[in-house]
Point group: C2
Chain length 372, copies 2
């Protein structure tokens, strides 16, 4: 058995996940050697139990791999093994990368510039509308939208990305040949045509409930940031946010009514420091450094990142006011007059600039740029 198939065999072995795979490779030098290792040697690997040793030393690996490859061929599903050149760049360095990924569709180099848009299954019309708009706006600017093909927010995100004629990736909690929910067959086919469906589970594996929290680390791992659009306090989307945090990803949340159960998870994330997200611009502004030209979206026609203005994240008319103050301090009336702003809009922008530490106020409502 060659090394790639040996890795597939390990991945098809119950109880072997990405972390254990890495340890087996480290201990035995290759998956192929691990499969030939005696039970005694396997039992000495940290974190390995007797059941895993039994599964690894069973004689069925060749047959299991052959069966899996037949299913994959029949379904037009490809294989990516951890260590392959085409294994997704973003996913390589997460704490527990999947040992193998089956793929229906195609991954592209530009998919490195990906953002996860996730949320509750039982979403409100508000949440679905925002998810679809956000995904459409991101995808149409060359950013790949990653989600989980579930009902509610996930489906709205995939559909929005397709509507924006962009790319979208769906990470499944079961095998690609055992689609869940079955009602998303047509959506899944469209995703495979404009992106990919991905799974770390055996192609015909059932979508077990226990798979989903684990699956969520792949959604965040493939992405530069995770946007939670709507989530109750018990929504799995919060698990995706937690994985994102562990993986060093930016976490975004869309605010919603404090009276809606479906927004409680997002409002909690916001309290905890997630970036408040009203539109695609909030996401792109925050990830600008990682979306740099030449890597991903810029090479597919995305807008250039905003100029390196200190500080980042200014809104309109905040930026105009900040620019105006480049020439020196000005009283509020002059700011209003020169920019032709309604006084309340100017006041609101000045609040924002002060809170961001971009400007400071002298006596007599005179504003100036803060010393950086």
């Amino acid at each position: 058995m060659d090394e790639r198939h040996a890795r597939l065999a390990l991945a098809l072995t119950a109880y072997v996940g990405g972390a254990l795979l890495a340890r087996l490779l480290e201990t035995f030098g290759s998956a192929e050697a691990a499969l030939r290792a005696p039970a005694r040697a396997l039992a000495r690997v940290p974190g390995i139990g007797p059941e895993t040793v039994r599964a690894l030393t069973s004689p069925d690996h060749e047959a299991a791999v052959a069966r899996e490859l037949r299913h994959m061929e029949r379904l037009g599903v490809g294989l990516m093994v951890w260590g392959d050149a085409e294994y997704p760049e973003n996913l390589r360095a997460i704490p527990s990368p999947p040992a193998v990924l089956t793929v229906k569709g195609r991954l592209e180099a530009g998919d490195r510039a990906a953002v996860a848009v996730v949320g509750a299954r039982r979403a409100t019309p508000y949440g679905q509308q925002v998810a679809a708009r956000l995904a459409r706006d991101l995808a149409s600017r060359g950013i790949t939208v990653v989600s989980g093909l579930a009902y509610g927010i996930d489906a709205a995100a995939h559909r929005g990305a397709l509507e924006g004629r962009g790319r979208t990736l769906a990470v499944l909690g079961g095998g690609i040949g055992c689609l869940h929910p079955a009602g998303h067959r047509e959506l899944a086919d469209r995703i495979a045509a404009c992106g990919a469906m991905l799974s770390e589970f055996p192609v015909m594996g059932r979508p077990l409930k226990a798979n989903f929290p684990r699956r969520n680390r792949i959604i965040s791992g493939l992405s530069l940031g995770v946007v939670v659009v709507e989530a109750s306090l018990t929504s799995g989307a919060l698990i995706t946010a937690r994985h994102g945090l562990e993986q060093g990803r930016e976490v975004f949340a869309v605010p919603g009514p404090v009276t809606a159960r479906q927004s409680q998870g997002c409002n909690r994330l916001l309290k905890s420091g997630a970036k408040l997200t009203e539109s695609w611009e909030d996401v792109v502004a925050e990830l600008a450094a990682q979306l740099r030209p030449g890597t991903g979206p810029a090479s597919r026609g995305a807008p250039p990142p905003p100029p390196p203005l200190p500080p980042a994240g200014l809104l309109e008319p905040e930026r105009r006011i900040y620019d105006l103050l480049a020439d020196g301090p000005l009283p509020i009336d002059a700011i209003i007059g020169r920019l032709g702003l309604p006084p309340a809009a100017a006041a609101s922008a000045l609040v924002g600039l002060e809170m961001k530490g971009a400007i400071s106020q002298r006596a007599g409502k005179v504003f100036e740029r803060a010393i950086p």
Copy 2:
């Protein structure tokens, strides 16, 4: 003319606000001396123009004061002059305190524990519901609710406070004898009975549009914190928030749908660092140090501030998990098992605790308290 009436005379003089009053007192030693000062001396006061000098040296002060006092007597309105013992404590130290305040109703010492609840006139049913609930919950716990008697959020806040059988203050943009909006007559009477209406404008003064932004500094100045419930980007409530910021007050905002114009101002405040507010608990948690026993609400039966747990602001079940980790690190399964939490709720709380820096994670999903 005695000193208090002389200060009233200055306040009744067009163009003399709190800042100029303070400067006149500083220059001439008393309001009474300022009224007797020759035009030459007045013209040397910084920031005083020829029109103000003319107004100050007119011979009509006695008559104006007498007329104002007659109106006040007829309407049952009291007078508080800057420097009086009964002048509101919170308001004394703001950058531009009103020279005089007319009062219908009564201020109490406990009104120091006040929170402003403000927002858009054209509020949505959502905003009005949240404002009323928040004001009711705060007022029923002994916190005085301050607002501006406008339609929409302001009226909902006053009504909520009354419903909570608590105290509420309304700060007007015109004279107390020239109620605006006129449709709020009955509400105004109830406020005067369970709190007070306040104004810095002459009793029969019209509610000029230009008065309102200025009036807003009194709303925030009377309060320990300002909660903006709903506000468009041009809402005057953002001016109140800005005044609050200038005055060192805590600024709170209630999140809302990103698709609603009426929530854009709040969502912007949240982006700029305002505290996300879902309920009265968020407000009280943040202001706990200022709401200490013996000063204000505690003496009127408010709940004691939360125990001094590092870090502040933990939600449930975050606090239970944090408490559980007092005995040492635990794997996620043990946390779930011992507290009987749904896995997703535990994961969500762990995100929150990590983001707040309260806990950290070791390999193998083991969590421990962060070193403070």
